[in-house]
């Protein structure tokens, strides 16, 4: 079915992630008069011209498409704020917590449907692209630290898109580690002398890991290109 994700690649397709993000609330300024909407997903409105009201993103986009409102871009979506974020992201290996969980999807939706409501839209767009790149590079670096001896890798403040990309990789890497590290599979040199000579070293594990890193790098390049 269209929009359904391939579980091998990522748990959620781009469309599904966008679907989830479309429930995030956003301010709009309607230019029509319309009574309240009592929807399954909640009650919204009433809508009065020039009076700001909060609606989910999908509703905002639907009204905007019909020319019935303008969307107020979220506060973080300004050149000033994003410049700060970019600096913070560059200055530290930690992921900044200043952007919402769905920042990638929200900005994509707004760029597509409400360009004229975003001041300095080109600048905003390029800042977000830069932030995305810097953040992703950090995630990759963090994951490089990840090997068979790793106890914990702490990556805070991942965004929905980032989690979605790294999830299958982390899952498979761990399974590979687990498999190559299971006691049943690796002969215990003390007990087993009649089987093959000790192969207990880290080589296979490291190798698997490198392999996965490459696969991962390719996959992310593809996804980011999209």
């Amino acid at each position: 079915m269209a929009g359904q994700s391939d579980p091998e690649l990522s748990l959620f397709s781009v469309e599904e992630l966008e679907f989830i993000a479309e429930d995030e609330m956003v301010d709009i300024v309607p230019n029509l008069k319309m009574g309240p909407l009592n929807l399954i997903s909640g009650d919204f409105g009433p809508f009065t011209p020039q009076i700001v009201t909060k609606v989910p993103m999908w509703l905002a986009v639907a009204l905007k498409k019909r020319g019935k409102c303008s969307i107020c871009p979220p506060q973080w979506m300004s050149v000033e704020k994003l410049t700060h974020v970019l600096e913070a992201e560059r200055d530290s290996q930690e992921m900044s917590e200043q952007l919402p969980f769905h920042y990638v999807e929200i900005s994509r939706l707004l760029f597509e449907h409400a360009r004229d409501n975003i001041p300095d839209v080109y600048m905003v767009r390029s800042l977000i692209e830069d932030i995305k790149d810097v953040r992703f590079h950090k995630v990759e670096t963090d994951l490089e630290a990840f090997n068979g001896r790793t106890i914990a890798v702490k990556i805070k403040n991942l965004s929905a898109m980032e989690v979605n990309i790294v999830r299958p990789f982390i899952g498979r890497a761990l399974q590979a580690f687990y498999k190559h590290d299971s006691p049943e599979l690796i002969p215990d040199p003390e007990k087993v002398s009649d089987t093959r000579p000790q192969v207990v070293n880290n080589a296979p594990r490291e190798w698997v890991f490198m392999h996965l890193v490459f696969a991962f790098a390719e996959a992310t390049t593809k996804i980011i290109m999209n």
């Binding site: 319309m34 909407l37 399954i40 997903s41 106890i151 929905a160």
Partner: protein, 221 residues
């Protein structure tokens, strides 16, 4: 003792929450939101989760009501704009419901012998006698080695919805370090052993996001 608690906790996972969470769900969350959560969890979990029958009943009812409303409105020649918005809301809910059910069906189909009869009649009966079992590779197999099972000892990434205090990992490193599953920034790797311990916590965890990554499979070298 250990297995006992594990079972209890398993139980806790499958029994619908009865405490504060339930109230929170009632007051602050719409059924659509709960359905979205169920859908995400179902997608993220390797096994089939408990069917949310009450929730699905409620959502189905709401969908029916809304379908009637939309029909009435369109019969009354209501404002086409608001009508289309009602329709969109309905479509979004239907998508969630279908997707939730579809994920479950996929999981069931993967592990089922539904096509058993057809397969027996048309394929297996044509094979050499030793290979006619649907459950076993051949007569030599000592166990049912052709029955697929969900991979339960796999890893899932979670996002905690509330503050969780340090969790002691049984097979952790010698220094008995505590891992801060703090803030909302949990990243967990669930090892089968750990998961037993954590399953009660799991009801509070949205299987979606990873932040602190804990690896307890490997005794350190």
């Amino acid at each position: 003792m250990a297995s006992n608690t594990a079972e209890e906790e398993e139980e806790e996972l499958t029994v619908p929450p009865t405490t504060t969470e339930d109230y929170e769900a009632l007051f602050s969350t719409t059924d659509v939101e709960l359905l979205k959560r169920a859908w995400r969890n179902e997608k993220a979990a390797p096994e089939i989760l408990r069917f949310q029958s009450d929730l699905i009943n409620r959502v189905t009812e709401q969908i029916q009501l809304m379908e009637e409303t939309v029909e009435e409105k369109s019969a009354d020649n209501a404002d086409p704009l608001s009508l289309s918005l009602y329709q969109m809301d309905l479509d979004r809910t239907l998508f969630l419901l279908r997707s939730y059910l579809r994920v479950r069906i996929q999981k069931i189909e993967k592990c089922t012998g539904d096509l058993k009869k057809h397969l027996e009649e048309n394929v297996l009966s044509q094979l050499p006698e030793n290979y006619q079992s649907i459950l076993r590779q051949s007569v030599i197999s000592e166990e049912d080695d052709m029955v697929p099972e969900p991979q339960l000892d796999t890893f899932v990434l979670c996002r905690s919805k509330e503050y969780l205090t340090g969790i002691q990992l049984e097979d952790g490193p010698v220094d008995d370090r505590q891992f801060p599953y703090s803030c909302i920034d949990l990243v967990v790797e669930l090892d089968p052993r750990l998961s037993k311990k954590m399953k009660s916590g799991l009801t509070r965890v949205d299987v979606f996001l990873v932040q602190v990554f804990v690896n307890c499979h490997y005794p350190l070298m």
